[in-house]
Amino acid sequence: MGSSAHEIQGHLKKYYMVFGALLVLTGVTVAVAEFHVSIGMAIVVALFVASIKGTLVACYFMHLMEEKSMLIWILALCALFFLMLLLVPMFTIGEQDAGLMERMRGLSPN
């Protein structure tokens, strides 16, 4: 952890650069959305840009780059289980009997 006053002075510039990058990337996200590209493309671009932004925040603002390996391992474990959670929709829809989704289509304001 860069904790001496001098080291932190050096960090300040980095913080402003990350800040600028985040604002630009937000602009990019909105701009791309305005083009109304295909939904698949939009998802890929939006999540890709969001991931870059998230990584910047985590690495620089949250100083993840300077942390020791134990925390990284714990977060990696968490990320793995997070991915398991995201598989839930696939498990629920992909493999259930086809009739179920049909029956779920009552939907609509009715």
């Binding site: 952890m1 969001a50 609509s108 304001p109 009715n110």
Partner: protein, 291 residues
């Protein structure tokens, strides 16, 4: 206060490189990832499972959230949160460099930006809660105001046409017993067929004609449910952050005088939490508004 001295309360542990509080807050954030993960997973499931034309709400031309949400407001809020994240980290950096006054000033700016986020959110919520979607039993046509229609599927899988209008309730007329007689309904400009190029005009609707009437609140559709629950929970996290930061603004000087390192650590932990809240929003913004 406890009379015992807890090791690694302020100094980092050689193995983990973190003092207790920082390790604790990271573990807490790991659990938060799972919390929002489950909600995100719910969103994906409901979205993938939604029949065509019902996402974000029945009758939408595309599946994008901006059919019913305002992107500019959300983009503004994104800017607020990103800025507040940078002021948060500057608050900590200044405390670390020994400048209490500057540190507290940046903390104050962070609180203000968080407050601004909530104000914008309030307007967003408020407009949703006063915007109505009305589904009619059959095709509606009165005083030149016609309902729009949309083909959906019933529970049994057969096709069914749904007649609906979006708009605002101008006035609710009740009889002496308080039972609702009729609504004076002002349709949205783009959904009413009546009077193109003219000002839309209000029309009277009777309860007997309505199959379902709902606001664009949480009960409006699966999407709106996700939107309100996820942003609501995120908003509660913002409120929590504001409370903690205000606490440090008010009481910080006392701890700074005796234990400046500990105080800087506390701000660092608050910051980690705050950056996480920002990070969640970075994902929420495109997912809810732009996709």
């Amino acid at each position: 206060m406890s009379a015992t001295v807890i090791p690694y309360d302020v100094k980092p542990h050689p193995l983990t490189g973190m003092y207790n509080g920082k390790f604790g807050i990271w573990l807490f954030l790991a659990s938060e990832i799972m919390l929002f993960g489950a909600l995100f997973s719910t969103y994906v499931l409901l979205r993938v499972g939604a029949p065509e034309g019902t996402w974000p709400i029945a009758g939408s031309p595309t599946t994008r959230g901006d059919n019913i949400l305002q992107v500019p407001l959300a983009a503004l809020n994104t800017a607020f949160l990103i800025t507040s994240s940078v002021t948060m980290v500057l608050a900590w950096a200044n405390l670390k460099m020994g400048s209490f006054k500057k540190g507290q000033q940046f903390l104050l700016v962070t609180v203000l930006l968080a407050g601004a986020f909530l104000v914008v959110k309030y307007f967003e919520y408020n407009s949703k809660l006063h915007h109505y979607a009305v589904t009619f039993n059959e095709h509606f046509d009165r005083d030149g105001v016609e309902s729009k229609s949309f083909k959906g599927l019933t529970q049994a899988g057969t096709e069914k046409t749904i007649h609906y209008l979006w708009g605002h309730v101008e006035e609710t007329k009740k009889d002496a017993d308080g039972a609702i007689q009729s609504y004076l309904f002002m349709p949205d400009h783009d959904t009413s067929h009546g009077g193109e190029g003219h000002e839309p005009k209000a029309v009277e609707i009777h309860p007997a004609e309505i199959a379902r009437m709902t606001t664009f609140g949480p009960g409006g559709s699966s999407f709106l449910g996700c939107y309100f629950v996820i942003t609501g929970l995120h908003g509660l996290h913002i409120v929590g952050g504001i409370v903690v930061m205000l606490w440090f603004l008010l009481t910080g000087s006392k701890m700074w005088k005796t234990q400046p390192d500990k105080y800087a650590n506390r701000i660092e932990c608050t910051g980690l939490y705050w950056h996480f809240v920002d990070l969640v929003w970075i994902f929420l913004f495109p997912v809810l508004y732009l996709l």
